[in-house]
Symmetry: C2
């Protein structure tokens, strides 16, 4: 027996898919409430656009396209996108004259990466991004993006009855840059310093102080050639302090600290559970200011479920490729990794909610008339009630089991007797209560019943 689904490409059964769809609806409605508009970019971009911004690690994971029948000679100049930020920047350059700025958009699409297969890593996954792009964007937009994402995840957890808090950890690259400036950490050392900070949550504090090994097997701390052990511990002490009260003697350090402080205070005032966390740096090198990651409180090993930040160079880089002239817009955005979040929630047993796949089912009662059963079913459908009509002749037990597998709460009997009375019998498939209802009153009855059940 052969597996016909390629590894690393997940697919869901209908009863799980309906939960994912509800999560998507909540994301969509929250993004729209905050004034973001939807766009969709093609699944592909030109190779040169993708590789200009992918970084080496991501570049290796890009899926190129070729004509399957034609073979290797028919390689295309475009490949599947690996994220939605690069396509968005390209979209802005492309449609600049037709858009008004600040341009606030959201995108919910699949992206592809040739990741090595492992639990929670997928070759195809859905991302749900919000971003703003504009000229001289104030940090109000950093705040709005984070506020939007926080509200979205809160709504989603509430809907799914997941009683866990969420906290947004924010930092600002300008502040870390200023810190590097103050301590004279430059060049290669600065890169290593960022990498070291980023490793904080992936190791113990003891190991962190020793300096974790990076992907090339070198100790990161050794790469920090211009920081002595003493200096390093001094910086570390600062970073560990409850930084929301910090005051710096240095003017530059203080000024760059103000931006993250302001972001923090504004989010607090809007009810966002925000944490100032200098160990958040975000790997990708296009970030230039605010950076953030979102965690489930007390469940840090759940991983970050939503992250993003400010990037001021991205559009300019893509613009250079196009040869177009224009403003060098900055941007800020964030993303919910829906596929990964869903998989995490499922693995943790938190996706227990049952959502009916239809509201009602018209059963195939022996000796009933097809026309009457269809008339009743279509009457409900016309009122927007999701109604399944069961057509095959089958024992009622089999029909009930079909209804149960779709979580359908109400069964409709429209048999010979009922047809005579121009009525139907409605059965609550959960508690088995049943009601004889005149056809004229049926829609109202079902609507009320559903309100109580759902």
């Amino acid at each position: 027996m052969k597996n016909l689904i390629p590894g690393g490409f997940p697919e869901l059964l209908p009863e799980k898919k309906v939960i994912e769809n509800s999560m998507k609806d909540i994301i969509k409605s929250n993004y729209e409430k905050f004034g973001y508009v939807n766009i969709e970019t093609p699944s592909v971009e030109l190779n040169e656009v993708l590789t200009s911004k992918g970084g080496d690690e991501v570049s290796k994971q890009i899926f190129g396209l070729y004509g399957l029948k034609q073979g290797a000679k028919d390689m295309k100049e475009y490949a599947l996108h690996f994220d939605l930020t690069v396509p968005f920047a390209r979209y802005v350059v492309e449609h600049e004259n037709e858009l008004k700025f600040p341009f606030k958009r959201y995108q919910m699409q699949k992206v592809w990466r040739g990741e090595r297969q492992q639990r929670g890593r997928f070759k195809e996954f859905t991302q749900c991004d919000v971003d703003v792009i504009g000229d001289n964007l104030g940090i109000e937009y950093d705040i709005e993006v984070i506020h939007t994402l926080y509200n979205t995840i809160k709504d989603m957890f509430e809907f799914l009855k997941i009683n866990r808090g969420i906290e947004v950890h924010i930092n600002n690259r300008k502040f870390i840059d200023a810190l590097c400036g103050f301590y004279d950490i430059t060049g290669e050392s600065k890169k290593n310093f960022y990498e070291l900070l980023d490793s904080y949550y992936k190791t113990t504090e003891e190991e962190f102080l020793k300096g974790k090994y990076n992907s090339d097997g070198e100790q990161i701390k050794k790469g920090l050639s211009n920081i002595s052990g003493k200096k390093f511990e001094e910086i570390f002490e600062i970073l560990k302090t409850d930084i929301s009260d910090l005051q710096f003697g240095d003017k530059n350090l203080q000024e760059n600290f103000e931006e993250v402080k302001k972001t923090y205070d504004s989010l607090k005032s809007k009810g966002v559970n925000v944490v100032f966390d200098p160990f958040i740096t975000r790997g990708l090198d296009y970030y230039t200011g605010t950076v953030f990651e979102t965690f489930v409180s007390k469940y840090f090993d759940f991983g970050s479920i939503c992250s993003g930040g400010r990037y001021d160079g991205l559009v300019g880089d893509i613009r250079k490729l196009s040869g177009k002239k224009g403003k060098n817009y900055g941007g800020v955005g964030g993303s919910i990794g829906l596929t990964r979040l869903f998989a995490r929630l499922e693995d943790s047993g938190l996706l227990e909610k049952n959502i009916p796949l239809s509201d009602a089912i018209v059963l195939n009662v022996p000796n009933s008339n097809l026309e009457y059963r269809e008339k009743v079913g279509n009457l409900l459908r016309d009122s927007g009630i999701k109604t399944d009509i069961y057509y095959p002749e089958a024992k009622l037990g089999k029909q009930f089991s079909y209804a149960t597998s779709k979580n359908i709460p109400l069964g409709i009997f429209a048999g010979e007797e009922e047809e005579k009375n121009n009525s139907v019998k409605v059965k609550d498939l959960d508690n088995r209560d049943s009601f004889e209802i005149e056809t004229n009153d049926l829609v109202k009855f079902i609507e009320n019943k559903l309100k109580k059940i759902l």
Copy 2:
């Protein structure tokens, strides 16, 4: 200046995308009303699954995948899907034990084909499919699928204020097969006969009678070696008759005619504008019974906007590949080609509807407090009103022009004066009426206002 978007991959501006999204919502809600449940399959399938069912023409259009950085040596064993029917059949084989039959599902996803670039042909497009798969499926499901699709398109046209009728043209391959049997049209001739019927709407009647040229440049009629000219005209006369009244002397012909007659009558009784049309055959060779195409009445050059049919072998073929044993399910389904339909409607100037991208916008009034403006904006958002907050300092004219570009109907002024009175000024951005409203009453006021405007 270089074009950064690959040819044949369409993308929309936000004001068009919101129309496409509304069309998707209407499709989704209709499919669900009829009891279909949503699934999504990966964008890729194994090459052998795709090529087993693609047919040669489609096979040439399949996009294979390889590692972009790694080059031709890194070709994958999976490729992008070219339709949703083959993936669905694979899904059924894969998850057979977890599904209940008849399995009624819908799928709304992108598919990819390496089509030569031309107006209305895309390399990437969205299809919206409904299908039922089951053991011994009755033709009630053929009828239900067509009823579902007809209602969907009717709703969509109504929403878009497109005042054009829709008609579903149905035929049945069993009937055409029986006709071939009666007239002794077999083997290669039968294939040519199907091709000839299919060409009916693409040519004049005179040319049709002469026999249209096929893709190899041969005259199709010449390929019909076992039909004399007289016999051909006799068949053609039958096909041209108002066939809903037809009676056949031949038992086999009459029996196979009954199925399409029953389908026709049942659809009529449900209010579907159905036409019996023996010239509809559908190119793909997996269809075995009912086939249909949907047209805009009196606008046949608009092309078919939705089509499908009954296929009884598809699942079995995919099952063979898997080496699994099990039932040889039959299926019936149809598809709305959303991208193509959208492009057609747009080209015909029929997509005139303006849908607001947000409901309201809080303007940046001079000397106003950021905190108050945000308080008002977030109050609306909390009630589900799509609210944009304009943050940059800019002249009101520029802000109005931003609002207009997003079709936003209501502007909110929350300035110094208003803050003192704990109120705001709401301006109807269309007729410029303006209202001073207390903050406590604001949500209700806006909701009522929107009800009247939208």
